[in-house]
């Protein structure tokens, strides 16, 4: 590979970043938006309602703009102070309003770079950047609005640093999201061939596949978008009406209403049919609306979803309006999680989730068995893969059930004073739960090999976790009183992100599992992050 242009590019990148820079002033807008969101839209709405209803004294009203301007001034000051630059292979960040904080991040410690471009950024040609390092699980360095030349420069230099660290030759500059002709940032299009020995596309989703992925999800999940409004509507109503008597006033009134209603109510078949019809049509409407919302959400969020293996790790790019590019070294991936809901089983694809250190796991929905195998070979290379062929002790059923029985009986007896004799129906739940728990026990499998552990759980949908043992950060063997009486134990192996916990196994096997995990972690010099 031609070295000269690369070192020229590198020199350009370094020169560009050497000058201490601030984020674009647009970042202040994001700060304000985040502050407003942290206050809570509903609380703000309630506050506005209070003000409109005229209950707020004039002094408080006058104070609001004053407080607002102080907060605004603080935000502008914090933006002013947030300065970053690149000095001698280290990213130096200075920030802080009252106390100056100085962060230095060695480039070769950078393990994950995430670049995002939301609508506002797209309009202005900016991107947001997040940098994760070895030894951190929150972003060491996060910028809301930076121009794309600087973002690309940081990405390239970070990739170069990673390569230098792992001893491979500095090849072609690491290409993040590419520039479209209109200057916006778009994920790399699928039609372009992967560069020779640099990158390989592992997964690429077409819009048709995205629609199928969306249809495989429960339609009502799409309505979750509207949930916050529905959930807080009641609270908001209560606040508006007035809290003179407190919430027990409302409960007592509701009970009286229900009792009164049940006394004077004539249950004709027409009314019953009407109610059932209304409920069904509401459900159907909800399902259709939910599906539409779901399809829209999946298609826009995961538009052109791609997972690419780069020379330094994996990179996942996706998004139509809000584009995200998350790049991470493979060592940061701690677990491989698979899941298949009932609908996904019908469609024949699974959801893959790579549990990574730091913000957000890499999720790859709609994966075929081939893609899963490919991803598995990336994330669990050369591992002696464990086969889930062991079961946990059936005592687990009784252990889980008895707690639920106690809860049902307690709640039921309390409810018996309020709405007799309906709580007796709750007793039906007990054999139902027993059947459900027994099915869950029957279908649960775990397994261990010299390298990996796997835990697979299934009811109708199934999910599994696979993890290499050497990633264990801590191993815990615990025995509750219940387990001690039966010679059982629980083992929990925790990685830097995520854990695998196997309950109710014979204590000898638990000890073996614990000792095997410790042996693996202590004798392996492989990088666990």
């Amino acid at each position: 590979m031609d070295q000269a242009p690369n070192s020229q590019l590198e020199a350009q990148d370094r020169a560009l970043l050497a000058v201490p820079t601030r984020q674009s002033p647009v970042a202040v807008v994001f700060l304000i938006l985040r502050f407003i969101r942290s206050l809570g839209i509903i609380q703000l709405g309630a506050a506005a309602a209070f003000i409109i209803s005229g209950r707020v004294p004039a002094s408080v009203l006058a104070a609001i703009p004053l407080v607002g301007s102080v907060i605004l001034a603080l935000m502008i000051l914090s933006w002013w102070r947030h300065v970053f630059s690149l000095q001698a292979d280290e990213l130096i960040v200075a920030k802080g309003v009252l106390s100056q904080e100085r962060l230095s991040i060695p480039l070769n410690r950078v393990q994950s770079v995430t670049v995002e471009q939301n609508l506002l950024n797209k309009v202005l040609g900016l991107v947001s950047l997040r940098v994760d390092t070895a030894g951190s699980d929150h972003p060491e360095f996060a910028i809301d609005a930076i121009n794309r030349q600087r973002a690309d420069a940081i990405q390239r230099l970070a990739a170069g640093g990673q390569k230098a660290r792992s001893g491979t030759q500095l090849e072609q500059a690491w290409a993040g999201p590419v520039l479209a002709p209109d200057g916006s940032l778009v994920p790399k299009p699928t039609s372009s061939p992967p560069s020779a020995n640099d990158e390989e596309v592992l997964v690429a989703r077409t819009p048709g596949e995205l629609v199928r992925i969306a249809l495989a999800r429960w339609p009502w999940a799409g309505l979750l978008v509207l949930a916050p409004l529905l959930a807080f509507g009641g609270e908001l109503g209560g606040e508006l009406v007035g809290d003179r008597f407190g919430s027990d006033f409302f409960i007592a009134r509701a009970i009286r209403n229900a009792q009164g209603a049940s006394e004077g109510f004539e249950l004709t078949s027409a009314i019953v049919l009407l109610v059932i019809g209304a409920a069904l049509s509401l459900l159907a409407l909800g399902a259709i609306l939910g599906m539409i919302l779901q399809v829209t959400q999946v298609v826009t969020t995961d538009w052109n979803l791609q997972v690419v293996r780069t020379s330094t790790g994996l990179r996942r790019t996706a998004g139509l309006f809000n584009t995200t590019s998350k790049a991470s070294t493979i060592t940061r991936v701690q677990q491989l999680r698979l899941a298949q809901s009932v609908l996904e089983q019908r469609f024949g694809f699974a959801r893959v989730s790579l549990t990574t250190i730091g913000d957000g796991d890499m999720t790859i929905p709609g994966s075929s068995p081939d893609e899963v195998a490919r991803l598995r070979s990336e994330v669990l290379p050369e591992a002696d893969l464990a086969v889930p062929d062991r079961m946990i002790d059936p005592a687990w059923i009784w252990y889980s059930l008895r707690i639920e029985i106690v809860v049902i009986v307690l709640l039921g007896s309390v409810a018996m004073f309020v709405i007799p004799p309906w709580p007796l129906l709750a007793l039906l739940a007990i054999p139902l739960r027993w059947w459900a728990l027994r099915r869950q026990w029957r279908l649960r499998r775990w397994g261990v090999s010299s390298d990996t552990i796997v835990d697979r759980q299934q009811f109708f949908s199934w999910e599994s976790v696979e993890m290499e043992l050497f990633r264990a950060q801590s191993v815990q063997l615990s025995r509750s009183f219940f387990e001690r009486r039966r010679g059982l134990a629980t083992v929990a192996i925790r990685a830097a992100e995520g854990k695998v916990e196997i309950p109710m196994i014979p204590v000898a096997d638990a000890r073996y599992l614990r000792d095997l995990a410790l042996h693996s972690a202590e004798s392996s010099s492989r990088r666990w992050m």
Binding site: D384, D389, R511
Partner: protein
């Protein structure tokens, strides 16, 4: 298992480890904590009990018109009962609390009703700190907190009720071991070949014959 010496690979011992030879965490060899720790916890309980009594009395006197007179007393006696119960459990636990230091890891044993042993390999230690609250300083005790990358809750361990001197020596030892192992990890990208360990013979998979096979196309 001896340390891998990268300058001199010939010195690396890599024997096959049979199941019976796997180092196991021996229950008998745990070092118990300082008995003064029990007094420390009881003092904490006593303090909490005093606070409950004071708050209950204040509420009873001040708010006697609004609240049913015996309610704060009832709640207070309930809480006091719980405090006494926890003091009794702590007394039971003190003989059980312990720690164990081995060549490659540190373990901490705790719990009475639900017993647990948590083990942290030195190669995973990120942070070792000593903490001393005012009561601990008074009794000459200290807590040793060992953190890994797995987070606060169960990712690390905290050994309370250590003699201050012991805690300091432990901290130095753990920090040194962690630093040595971290260096070794950074210098070598080469994977050590570990001999595979056979699963225990005494655990055949217990799968009834009538079960449908669970192996899906997504498993290997």
């Amino acid at each position: 298992m001896s340390e891998a010496n990268l300058e001199n690979p010939g010195s690396l011992e890599n024997k096959v480890i049979a199941t019976t030879d796997l180092p196991s965490v021996p229950d008998e060899e745990f070092e118990l904590l300082d008995p003064r720790y029990l007094w420390l916890r009881w003092m904490g309980n006593g303090f909490f009990a005093i606070v409950i009594i004071v708050v209950a009395s204040v509420v009873t006197i001040v708010a006697r018109d609004v609240v049913i007179p015996w309610l704060p007393a009832a709640i207070a006696s309930g809480l006091l009962l719980l405090t006494a119960l926890s003091a009794w459990l702590q007394w039971l636990e003190i003989e059980h609390l312990g720690y164990l230091v081995r060549t490659h890891d540190l373990s901490y044993r705790s719990g009475v009703l639900s017993r647990s042993v948590i083990t942290v390999p030195f190669a995973r230690v990120q942070n070792v700190t000593i903490e001393r609250g005012p009561l601990e300083r008074w009794q000459g005790l200290a807590s040793l907190e060992v953190k890994t990358a797995a987070g606060e809750l169960f990712g690390g361990l905290t050994i309370r009720g250590l003699d201050h001197d012991t805690a300091q020596r432990l901290r130095v030892m753990v920090a040194d071991r962690a630093a040595v192992l971290a260096d070794a990890e950074e210098q070598s990208e080469v994977q050590l070949e570990d001999q595979p360990v056979a699963p225990p013979q005494s655990y055949p998979p217990d799968r009834p014959q009538s079960e449908p096979p669970l192996s899906q196309p997504f498993e290997q």
